[in-house]
């Protein structure tokens, strides 16, 4: 591990390893027939162990385990690394039964397991992890997806406005959001909630119905949508113990699903109920999966991680409107660049009577409400 990579590498199928490896027959997959057992050579094994535990191997027994100064992260890494070498690498690197695909899968899983925080990655590292995820999906599902790691654009700050007088409660935004963002169909996770409120009672979220099913608009009611407000001073980001969530330069508050430990502190810290948790592995029928994905956006999540609205980062950074904005039949949703003085969102902020929810908390949401 002399290079500056932020995770361990184990090149199971690199050409160099193949030519100098234990197998002299030159075959790249399967077995050559000359092996009597499933073990890698001493030389390779030593190198791998060196990579994993390095210095500690000179010590012995009890000392090796307990008499070492390291932080928890390093300890966990090294322990897992050793285990992986024992269980994974040995069985896959030179097995007679495993094929090229299995090796590649193991290689990808290895790299993915020990990759760094997306926020700290260089552009090359970001591209690399996206390539690995695409390849991994290809190997597992035999389908191609398109994943982007596009960064925030300079001079862009995304903002959103919601017209309370226009929303009719059709919930087209909700279903468009679920489809666009590959949300779990089993638990029916939804980022957007539309609150049906009584006229003349003010904004009473505790008395509002956010799961109505009758003909809309219902008489004597108005509708108000909430979702992640992409606060400029987001409390969810402050409480994250592992910095798996942060605010991007274009104002989007995003999550690295691979770094999230699922503690749900952010869920508790959000004053707007903008965050959702995956209690089970999200399930989306294969033909309904949106294959136009972004690393920070709608790529498939796993069990035990947080997710939320990203203003459809996969769309917005490509110049498109978020799916909810496009789906709204009433034009109640307005999206744009707050830094562009000629943008429509700026006109709304400057010419309509806008307000935000819980402004006194100082969270500075970039999601304004207004009326005709």
């Amino acid at each position: 591990m002399s290079d500056n990579k932020k995770w361990f590498s184990l090149d199971l199928s690199s050409p160099k390893k193949q030519s100098t490896g234990s197998c002299g027959c030159g075959k790249t997959s399967g077995g050559c027939g000359s092996h009597t057992n499933d073990q890698i050579s001493d030389e390779d094994f030593d190198a791998a162990v060196d990579a994993a535990i390095g210095e500690e191997r000179k010590k012995d027994g009890f000392d090796q385990v307990f008499d070492v100064k390291m932080d928890r992260r390093t300890a966990f890494r090294q322990l897992t690394a050793s285990l992986m070498i024992g269980a994974g690498a040995v069985s896959t690197s030179c097995s007679v039964t495993t094929g090229e695909n299995t090796k590649e899968k193991a290689q990808i899983d290895w790299e993915e397991q020990f990759k760094g925080n997306y926020k700290l990655m260089t552009d090359e590292e970001r591209n690399a992890t996206v390539e690995r995820l695409v390849r991994s999906y290809q190997l597992r599902k035999k389908k191609n997806i398109n994943m982007s790691s596009q960064n925030a654009e300079k001079d862009v700050l995304f903002g959103y406005a919601f017209n309370i007088s226009k929303c009719q409660g059709y919930m087209d935004c909700v279903s468009a959001c679920v489809e666009e963002n590959n949300q779990d169909r089993n638990s029916q996770m939804q980022y957007i909630r539309i609150h049906e409120m009584k006229d003349g009672k003010g904004l009473k979220f505790d008395e509002a119905d956010d799961n109505y099913y009758h003909e809309v608009p219902a008489e004597g009611h108005f509708y108000m949508g909430t979702q992640c407000f992409h606060c400029d001073n987001p409390p969810c980001v402050d409480v994250c113990p592992v910095q798996a969530t942060w605010r991007e330069d274009d104002g989007l508050v995003v999550i690295d699903y691979d770094w999230c430990v699922g503690c749900r502190y952010c869920m508790a810290a959000c004053p707007y109920d903008g965050r959702r948790f995956n209690w089970s592995t999200p399930k989306v029928p294969e033909n309904e999966i949106n294959k136009n994905q972004h690393y920070l956006g709608n790529r498939m999540r796993k069990k035990g991680v947080m997710e939320k609205c990203t203003f459809c980062v996969q769309r917005s950074r490509a110049g498109k409107n978020p799916a909810c904005v496009d789906a709204c039949p009433t034009g109640a949703r307005i999206f744009g660049n707050l830094l562009d003085p000629k943008s429509t969102i700026r006109w709304v902020l400057e010419n309509k009577k806008v307000f935000r929810l819980k402004e006194d908390l100082g969270t500075e949401p970039k999601f304004w409400y207004f009326m005709d």
Partner: protein, 208 residues
């Protein structure tokens, strides 16, 4: 002497306190409005553009007041335009004749009441290819918003600014906004009640 040191120390602490207390999580700005104002001062546009999204959509550029933007072209979308291909004779000659083709028979005007509006509020029997304003001047079908804005002036202001209506493609410039008739049927402009497109049965279970 001691008093002097104490005085200086107090001053230093006070300065430090004021400096620290003004610090917010959002960085150098006090609030988002300040941030938007400061950071958009030197705005020179971005590389993100809607042009590729607008490809294949026929638009025309309009300028209304301070606003210049694109709207979808309309005439090519009207199935039987030009109207004069059928309306070759005055209306009175075409009505009540047995050999005449029935057309527009299904249009019922549900827009304001009959005291305020009827067909000729917008259409001109003598010039079927164009619309007409309240004072009788001609309005092109591509610029039908001019007709609507005669009464709906408040909506027109909001539409020009971008608070009313929808964009054709993305948020990025060039701005292309849908025009009135892209969402509203001019003969029946109101939105109908209907059932929501989504219902969360899981949420019901969770809340039981």
């Amino acid at each position: 002497m001691n008093k002097h040191i104490l005085y200086i120390l107090t001053c230093v602490f006070f300065c430090l306190f004021t400096l620290c207390s003004c610090k917010h999580g959002e960085g150098e700005y006090h609030n988002i409005t300040d941030k938007i104002e400061a950071e958009s001062k030197n705005y020179h546009g971005t590389s993100i553009s809607s042009e590729s999204l607008l490809e294949g959509i026929h638009t025309i550029e309009i300028t209304e007041g301070k606003h210049t933007f694109l709207i979808p072209e309309r005439k090519s979308k009207i199935t039987s335009y030009a109207c004069t291909e059928c309306h070759s004779k005055p209306l009175s000659d075409m009505q009540n004749t047995e050999e005449a083709k029935k057309a527009h028979w299904d249009i019922k005007l549900t827009h304001a009441d009959l005291n305020t509006m009827n067909c000729i509020t917008c259409h001109n029997g003598a010039d079927m290819n164009n619309l007409q304003s309240l004072t009788g001047s001609s309005i092109d079908f591509n610029r039908s918003y001019k007709l609507c804005s005669q009464c709906h002036s408040r909506q027109f202001e909001d539409w020009k600014g971008g608070a009313h209506g929808k964009k054709v493609a993305g948020w990025a410039p060039p701005r292309a906004s849908m025009t009135c008739v892209n969402c509203h049927n001019p003969h029946k402009p109101g939105f109908e009640t209907r059932w929501p497109s989504s219902y969360n049965t899981q949420k019901i279970k969770e809340r039981e």
